[in-house]
């Protein structure tokens, strides 16, 4: 597992989803992947597959019809995952706040780790937000890999740890 922790930090893959933004932040994300700002020096690659992604970049205030897709994409990303909300409207609804079909920010639906302000966010801010997200990703990885404490004595079958027997024992104790 140590192996994955090390390399996850060095090459986080991002998934980008537009939940109703005006395109401004999306083209700035593209621009920050391009040569001048070069997000790829952090090992970042834009991937279309949620199951291979670590960082979820969301833009837009969440429209009525995109919220199901947003939650579904979020649940498909494996743990540990970090959500970055790019743009003012993603954080609070921004200029779209209170319009008929919008939901005023993505944190009503999924937990957000980093908010990147700006309308539209400049590439410098997006890079800053992603670097922040990398720290959070590392902390989350460590949290997941902490050994969990077992109740009672360790049971083995042959040379191998038997979690089933240990669980049975805890279950019996509770009764």
């Amino acid at each position: 597992m140590k192996f994955f922790t090390t390399f996850r930090k060095k090459s986080p893959w991002i998934l980008h989803y537009n939940a109703g933004s005006c395109n401004g932040c999306d083209i700035e994300i593209l621009a920050s992947l391009a040569p001048k700002f070069d997000l790829e020096r952090f090992g970042v690659i834009n991937t279309g597959n949620p199951k291979q992604s670590d960082i979820f970049l969301v833009t837009g205030p969440v429209t009525y019809r995109s919220r199901e897709r947003l939650v579904e994409l979020y649940t498909q990303i494996p743990e540990p995952k970090v959500v970055v909300a790019v743009g003012s409207c993603t954080a609070t609804g921004g200029v779209f706040r209170g319009m008929v079909n919008t939901e005023d920010g993505i944190d009503r639906y999924i937990p957000v780790d980093v908010y990147v302000p700006g309308c539209a966010s400049s590439p410098q801010l997006i890079i800053d937000g992603l670097v922040k997200a990398l720290e959070i990703l590392e902390a989350k990885s460590k949290e997941i890999e902490k050994p969990f404490k077992l109740f009672g004595a360790i049971e083995t079958i042959g040379n191998k740890l038997s979690r089933l027997n240990m669980a049975k024992k805890v279950h019996n104790d509770e009764n």
Binding site: Y17, N18, A19, G20, S21, C22, N23, G24, C25, D26, I27, E28, L30, A31, L33, A34, P35, K36, N46, T47, G48, N49, P50, G60, P61, T63, Y64, R65, S66, R69, L73, C89, V95, F96, G98, M99, V100, N101, T102, C119, A120, S122, P123
Partner: protein, 361 residues
Amino acid sequence: MKKTIQIPLGSQHISLLEPIRFKFECENERIIGVDADVGFVHRGVELACTRSFEFKQVGYVVARVCGLCAITHSLSYTLAVEKLLGYVANDRIKYLRMLMVELDRIHSHMLCLAHTAENAGFEALFMQIMGDRELVMEVQEAISGNRVQFDYISIGGVNRDLTSDLCDLIRKNLTILSEKMEILTGLFDNNWSLSLKYKGVGVLSLEDAYTYNALGPLARASGLATDVRAETSDFPYEALGYTMILESTGDIHARNFVRLREIVNSITMCQNIVDNLPIGEIQEKVKGKPKGEDIIRIEAPRGELFYLVRGNGTNMLERVRIKTPTFSGIPAMMEVFKGSQYADAPAILASFDPCMSCTAK
């Protein structure tokens, strides 16, 4: 008995910047039917323009319909309201507005070319074009203060003036860009692997372009001579070296070439504007409340943008109708997909340069 399979594309896909869902009805590898769902990013801007915001604020709200052509949106709205208020801008304001619209067209077309190259599998070209595009973004940032959502145009003028330092920067960057465009044109014309992906793929015939009311670069690539810059008299385009660019084959290659040549034309126009900038105020006082109904048409990077504004003499407008280019282009786009290979679908889609934020508002 024929068997068909349905393959979906979207709403989230690596080749898509924005959510749109296609359902392709395929016979082996060939697409025979298309169904599109475009409403994922509908926010309700038209309603908010008449209920939540006063007419002086709406110009900045409609800019948020689309980030790529924000300037054309706010320009169209501002012109419509200025017509209702009976105000005619002086030449300097007109020239500065045109300058920003043409710069916007350059960067939007370059993004589309880059995206088409990426979807055809040419990642290096994507990087190269995006790198060159920064030359225009620098100019835009220097003029207006922001890279994409620059609220440059307000009712009665523009918000920032063009100093002589900025003129020098524009001349310098555009000269570099026009040299790079020559290299790019050669690359798009002569690269063997790109021509395999582009030439003869995704053809829209002239007959179909007329039937389905194609517009913008999509129509001009098929040889349909329509350009709002030649069909309206709000701006002196002809005096600044505008020429209509037409291709005849109607495939992806032709659409790329229309964009490439339009970039070159826009660079010439920008240089002419900077060289011949008239003297005058950049912001004038406009009094009154909009009353009556007026329409405005502006050539956005993707085609014709249409605004209808109706006011009743109060601060709140009665109706703001936004007709965006991709919205009326979708029937023609669906027609192009029929008969082509499924593997070409992402490249064909990128060559339309669709803007879903515009379409769904």
